[in-house]
């Protein structure tokens, strides 16, 4: 087992970070909250730089750890773009079905926006919301991030011979209902589908969900790390009672606990990526590793952003301050693809031998 970034991945991380620092400061996310077209210029830059090609396992030698690196930096920058949705979630589910999905992955690699619809209404965990009968894809899914910006909907369906991954084009037979959501910079919608899919391929359910879970974890690790960095900066400069507030153990220890939570999640995310790139990993082991990473990253992102609000005090309650943007991003992504408790419960139940 090896866990960690190689020098190429560290260079990729630094490049992505540098580009986003210039192209996408946190203020862009605030603008995107109210300007529904704001994401497009950032997205064009990202597509032109070729980051969306990470969707294609048949091109280059990028693995899931490279995907995690880019997703983490986009999360840290609160980039209001569908990179996680397209490249992490939709393409992540598709690649589990093998070469049959290469044409769709090529489109996503070229920058066509895709969304992943895997939340059956009323369920906390992701699953199979659709059916496929006589070539017709039907069903409803909720909480689909970036669906409003997507040309492709990727979903899971129960067919005659088991689970398939299916792709539909938005338009006729794909009814999109936008949700007035926590983080309007990455808008969420519900979907009702009754259409002929452009592609279907048999897939293992756990494998189809594993890469999306890992990618969402990476995004949340990015948010957690960025929020903690903001808290630390503030705790060093803000003075009360004659010293920086970070000198008080009440603040210092809360931030140290955030650091533990962050690195716990980052280790699990890198380990899950390494496991998923190892062809010897069973679908169950891959799903478990990714589910634990997502659960840990959701916790880390929510606790780091909540602490950030506490440390910043009253100013954190204002629209103009950035911290609520981190909180919104954390809460929204933490609630999709399984909240932390539901994922922990599922993994614990399996470990205890209680079949779901």
């Amino acid at each position: 087992m090896d866990v960690g970034l190689n020098s190429g991945q560290l260079a990729l991380r630094d490049t992505v970070r540098d580009v986003l620092r210039t192209e996408c400061p946190p203020g862009i996310a605030r603008q995107a909250m109210t300007d529904p077209e704001r994401w497009r210029t950032v997205w064009k830059t990202v597509v032109d730089l070729g980051w969306t090609e990470l969707a294609r396992p048949d091109v280059g030698d990028f693995g899931r750890l490279d995907l995690a690196v880019v997703a983490e930096e986009c999360g840290a920058a609160l980039a209001p773009i569908p990179l996680l949705s397209s490249v992490g979630l939709a393409a992540g589910a598709l690649r589990a079905a093998g070469a049959a999905t290469n044409d769709v992955l090529r489109e996503i690699g070229d920058g066509v926006v895709a969304a992943l619809a895997v939340h059956p209404p009323g369920a906390r965990l992701p699953g199979v919301p659709m059916t496929l009968q006589q070539g017709r894809l039907r069903g409803r899914a909720v909480a689909v991030a970036e669906l409003c910006h997507a040309e492709l909907v990727v979903t899971l369906a129960t067919g005659d011979d088991g689970v398939v991954v299916a792709v539909a084009r938005t338009g006729d037979g794909v009814a999109v209902t936008p949700v007035d959501c926590i983080n309007a910079a990455q808008p969420v919608a519900d979907v009702e589908i009754d259409t002929t899919p452009v592609m279907t391929a048999p897939v293992d359910l756990e494998s189809a969900l594993a890469t999306p879970l890992m990618a969402a974890a990476a995004d949340l690790v990015g948010v957690a790390g960025a929020a903690l960095a903001r808290s630390v900066d503030h705790a060093k400069s803000r003075r009360q009672f004659g010293k920086p507030i970070g000198a008080f153990q009440g603040v210092k220890h809360a931030l140290a606990d955030n650091y533990v939570s962050l690195e716990r999640a980052r280790s699990l995310t890198y380990a899950a990526a390494a496991r998923l790139d190892d062809p010897g990993t069973t679908p169950a082991a891959g799903w478990t590793a990714a589910a634990l990473a997502k659960a840990a990253a959701g916790e880390a992102a929510v606790s780091c952003t909540r602490t950030a609000i506490q440390v910043h005090g009253a100013i954190a309650q204002t629209w103009e301050h950035d911290i609520h943007l981190y909180l919104r991003h954390a809460w929204q992504t933490a609630a999709t693809l399984g909240d932390s408790r539901a994922l922990y419960h599922a993994v614990g139940r399996r470990f205890a031998g209680d079949a779901p």
Binding site: K243, V260, R264, Y270, L292, Y344, A346, F351, A352
Partner: protein, 401 residues
């Protein structure tokens, strides 16, 4: 030879060493002093005790990665715990790093073979987390005197009553700032003026605390370990070694705790446990076992269990990340979460085990031991509060209070 080969060789050796019924009767063997002494000696002779060290010091000059794989494998197999952990894991690395050739020659092999045990003379009644506030004095009657005269009092000195030597920290320059006036001395606990009083423990434990009273004890100047007035540095370096081991020891115990929760969730009325080592609830009456099998009472356990599985996997993955960075000559700040996370996880896993056992937890002496033992983990080797200060100040760069 690949890592896999060397781990396989170790596994084969361990299987040959352990009694055939080791797994079935782990609960007895884990306390067996003879087995544990023999294990240390055999591991020393076979080169598995400190795998990165040279052959004469109980190793086989393996790389860090192979050494970690071997330690984790030993953990997974519940290999016997060393009877005097302070010796091989804290004193030995310090002797190798700071010792004179004469000290290494005299002290190291008897320590590693387990023939001579070691105690750590750090804490004092008025110096716990604030270790540098220690008051035990080591003075020379004249600058060219061949001996230090030591006076003071050490406490919580684990296994001092069974040890031959003590890594004793004493103040050698009262005028210097408190971190810079401390030296580390190798104290022969058989010296005149040393009085050792074992302290009764709240739990059943073979790691008994002692109080060590030092009344005009003479320690040869040649027993100085490391630089004169450089004891603070020796202490930090030896605790650094200890910290690298502590998370693996915590991880082993966490694995057993997780297994005990799994067992508690699955126990059927009247079914004896399949494996004592994995399950600590061996003496539980059937009525309690029946309680545990009710599905609706297990539901709340699963989420905590999943969270603990994440903690355990995060410990291992973080250990590997730190190693990855070390091997690439990069900083490995993530290693500083291991002590804090490992100790808290250990406590949580045994509390969950107790919850899953219901009132059966009351009458289970093994579980009582595990719960009490886990509570020490956030205190020894640097308390959790000190760990948080280290993370806050050294990693995050927050100002000192």
């Amino acid at each position: 030879m690949t890592h896999t080969d060397v781990v396989a060789e170790f596994t084969g050796w361990l299987t040959d060493f352990l009694p055939n019924d080791y797994v079935q009767r782990y609960q007895q063997y884990r306390w067996d002093p003879v087995l544990r002494r023999d294990y240390q000696r055999a591991a020393f002779e076979a080169g598995w005790l400190q795998p990165t060290w040279p052959r004469e010091h109980g190793g086989r000059e393996l790389g860090l990665r192979a050494a970690m794989e071997i330690r984790l494998e030993a953990a997974l197999r519940s290999a016997p715990k060393l009877p005097n952990i302070a010796g091989p894991n804290v004193a030995a690395p310090a002797i190798r790093q700071f010792g004179t050739p004469e000290q290494i020659d005299r002290l190291l092999v008897p320590l590693l073979r387990g023939d001579e045990w070691w105690a750590l003379g750090m804490s004092e009644p008025e110096a716990g987390s604030d270790f540098a506030a220690l008051r035990t004095r080591a003075e020379r009657d004249s600058p060219d005197s061949e001996v230090f005269r030591v006076n003071g009092r050490k406490i919580w000195t684990t296994q001092a009553h069974l040890s031959r030597w003590c890594m004793l920290y004493a103040r050698t320059d009262p005028a210097a700032p408190k971190h810079r006036g401390i030296s580390c001395l190798v104290l022969d606990l058989h010296s005149p003026g040393v009085q050792i009083e074992p302290i009764r423990m709240a739990s059943v434990s073979d790691e008994t605390f002692c109080e060590v009273l030092l009344d005009d004890v003479e320690v040869p100047v040649s027993n100085l370990l490391g630089p004169y007035n450089g004891g603070w540095h020796v202490a930090l370096a030896s605790l650094h070694h200890e910290r690298q081991m502590i998370w693996i020891m915590n991880w082993v115990e966490i694995q057993r705790g997780l297994e005990s929760v799994r067992y508690a969730c699955n126990a059927k009325p009247g079914t004896p446990p399949a494996r004592e080592g994995a399950c600590l609830h061996t003496d539980t009456p059937d009525s309690t076992v029946q309680l545990r099998t009710l599905a609706h009472e297990r539901g709340d356990v699963f989420a905590d269990l999943g969270s603990l599985l994440a903690d355990a996997e995060a410990l291992r993955a973080t250990g590997y990340r730190a190693l990855h960075n070390e091997l690439a000559n990069r900083p490995s700040p993530e290693a500083d979460i291991l002590k804090l996370l490992g100790s808290v996880t250990l406590q949580r896993v045994w509390e969950l085990s107790a919850a899953a056992a219901g009132p059966g937890s009351i009458g289970d002496p093994h579980l009582l031991f595990e719960r009490q033992d886990a509570l020490a983990a956030t205190i020894y080797g640097g308390t959790s509060e000190i760990q948080r200060n280290i993370i806050g100040e050294r990693l995050l760069g927050l100002p000192k209070g």
